[in-house]
Symmetry: C2
Subunit: 447 residues, 2 copies
């Protein structure tokens, strides 16, 4: 009998509903505020820039389960379930008694978990008669996923990609163009927000904050155009819960239950996607109900150079650089924080999503900081053992898992560690080249 390495779900076991954690949190997140009136924003307010259904989902604190539209389920079935994989070779290389599992979200044609939210967002836009969508993207995983989803639903798509990431990984903008999208480096001269930033700082490398400002400006000044977001917001993490819902059933197939659940952290969508479905059992314990599993250590792995979870402040702040978004109650480094030029472009964001921020405040999870070199060291070890070259973002999750596994080696504990492999790094090979050549450095943030 050989050891089973990969667990897949039969189609009839795939989730038919997303899990909305906001309905079950002991302390509900504070409301986003209109910056002018300081009043909570409404679904109507949000519907100006987002698809109405997404706006509704964003503020829903009532329904714990939200139906996945049939057409979205059909498209999920093209690549889901994604495999849950036992990382035997990595365990062996580390000599750890821990059992390491990863959920492999890199296997879809776009290469990352981002497709899980791009599909429903474009679906709702098309249902509501929208013809154009726009967005920001860092490393380009979200932009690529949205470009394909838009094309497949017959929508036009314009993407603002963070300038430094565009230069670091030129193939990603090629991918977006291959799917028919228009791509612009941010900050750009095509929006007022971009021009203002360039005027103040002609060499600004861009950030997710600057790109969000530009995309929102385009959406609000273009007829029949909606803005879509790849992380941070509640409805994005909601769509991503298919990851954790599947993983829960797959861990059951493997006959195990995680002690530690880890994901890398940019705005919180891949973290929330994996963690929230497991976390709901902890709330049930709190509420006096029977807990399904044991207490889980939830770890969000952020870059040491952009440490909002461990060194940020919990307060109301803008989600973008220019101040176009509502004020969000979150852990933040300040919306004008200029992140260092790390290769994990998807983690270069100043704030944490509203739900995650509340959960962190309430002690349900913790953040850890991973220096860039440690992230690539762990990523390279993972590639050479498990055969998958991880995205620089995902390397942070791997590094956190390696830390936990090495701790187990010292204590002898057989912990079950589950992490999210949010994407592959095939478009990020310049980063690996630089690491192997010894050209990468660690950054200390300017706080």
């Amino acid at each position: 009998m050989t050891k089973q390495k990969r667990f897949l779900l039969a189609e009839d076991l795939l989730p038919r509903q997303w899990y909305n954690i906001a309905a079950e949190m002991p302390n509900k997140p504070l409301p986003p505020l209109n910056p002018a009136t300081k009043q909570p924003v409404t679904v109507d307010d949000l519907s100006h820039i987002f698809a109405s259904e997404c706006a509704k989902q964003e503020l829903d604190q009532t329904h714990a389960w939200i139906d996945i539209p049939e057409e979205v389920q059909e498209r999920y079935r093209f690549y889901r379930s994604t495999p849950l994989v036992r990382a035997y070779a990595l365990e062996q290389a580390l000599g750890t008694p821990a059992h390491i599992y990863f959920k492999n979200e890199s296997v879809n044609p776009l290469g990352s978990h981002k497709l899980n939210s791009a599909i429903p967002q474009c679906y709702y836009c098309r249902q509501e008669g929208t013809t154009n969508v726009t967005t920001e993207t860092g490393a380009g995983q979200w932009g690529a996923a949205l470009s394909y989803a838009a094309k497949s639903f017959g929508l036009e798509c314009a993407v603002y990609q963070v300038k430094i990431s565009m230069q670091q990984k030129p193939y990603r903008s090629s991918i977006m163009r291959t799917f028919g999208a228009t791509v612009e480096g941010s900050p750009s001269m095509s929006t007022r927000a971009g021009k203002d930033i360039i005027t103040r700082d002609p060499h600004h490398p861009g950030s997710l904050g600057t790109a969000i400002s530009e995309a929102i400006e385009l959406a609000t000044t273009t007829p029949n155009c909606k803005y879509t977001l790849g992380s941070v917001l509640n409805h994005v993490a909601l769509h991503q819960t298919v990851i954790g819902l599947e993983a829960e059933k797959q861990m059951e197939m493997a006959g195990e239950y995680p002690d530690v659940v880890i994901a890398c952290f940019g705005g919180g969508s891949n973290f929330g996607g994996l963690a929230f479905p497991f976390m709901r059992h902890q709330f049930q314990t709190l509420n006096g109900q029977c807990a399904k599993g044991k207490r889980i250590d939830f770890i969000a792995a952020e870059p040491a150079s952009c440490p909002k979870l461990t060194k940020g402040e919990f307060r109301y702040d803008f989600g973008d650089s220019a101040g176009y978004t509502p004020l969000l109650p979150m852990y933040t480094l300040g919306h004008d924080f200029k992140p260092a030029n790390i290769h994990a472009g998807g983690l270069r964001y100043h704030g944490a999503g509203v739900i995650v921020s509340q959960l962190l405040k309430d002690g349900f999870m913790r953040g850890v900081d991973i220096p860039q070199l440690e992230s690539f060291e762990s990523g390279l070890l993972f590639a050479r053992t498990e055969g998958i070259i991880p995205a620089p973002e995902s390397c942070h999750a791997i590094a956190a898992a390696v830390r936990e596994a090495e701790a187990c080696k010292k204590t002898g504990e057989e912990k079950v560690i589950l992490f999210n492999l949010s994407g592959h790094g095939l478009i990020d090979m310049t980063a690996y080249d630089s690491f192997i050549n010894g050209d990468l450095i660690n950054y200390t943030p300017n706080l």
Copy 2:
């Protein structure tokens, strides 16, 4: 009831044996000859450069079924079965009554079918006590797969990559280095064969033929080093038959049987891998046995600029440029043919594998020529409909499938078309950039 798009096999249905077509062909292939003695080569001769087990498989014309070692099966299970996918969106875009299916070999971590043979070749090398492997690679799909397989079996790996391909897709050599391999552009100054070629033609862009010469020279002059090949030879196509064996069961799940089976053609391994398991039923008809399926049209799609199947000559020729290999009975453009700089680097080879050559001669299959621009046009349509950016090599199979589907549109036939998506094109984005910008051209071969 929604339409099922993707078919996967349960683990207990995965092949446990490879199919060796040489044992069942009506006319056996002619033997490879020692160029000095003109005598048929023996397993012993081949064992000087290949793993002995591969040498044995290469000349086996007796056993139709060859056991897949347990450890190889275990590694296959990491990514197999690969999905069989119904290309509904492509069908719709073409407005064809044909049913188009593709076998998606791009989903493994290395991105192509090449891993199917890299694993057993490295497995046999390790079993036989080899410490070093070397090979040639064109676009780099084979080199990447071998680099990972070698690392995972604890072997050192040196790869000669065709120089022009190395320049066209620099990420591929980064991938090989990430897996710990040494990579050299061919022709190089590190071998006698390479030096001779450079002396004659300082600007030689390289070809699979030049890279094979260099790798064989390294293998024969390095202690404990074996040469491995990614296509052309019988044992490579043998390993690839897992593709067709799976596809046969998956077509059954879909309730259909192909009228047309298509793959792109470089040396013949992805073509043979898909086609041979289906073709065996045609031999059974010939032999008076009951045929399982209807008569299938087997199509090998080669680049118009390197047309050995349609414009080559059937004769004995060397497999490499320098003349280090045995003489092989094959359709060839001549071992000194210099292929044009098309982006489908894996198809830039002067000859066809021995088995395929015999099958073509005997009328069991046919070749079609695809101009470079047509290949990318079809590839782009496929990307925008099915969401997967295909490798430039695979674009040739897609183009042939599109031609067949368009013919069905005219005749109204509901043909079932099955093609092999041998790999994804995420490392080939410069080619798509050039195509979208209108910078690509067609080449007419110098015959």
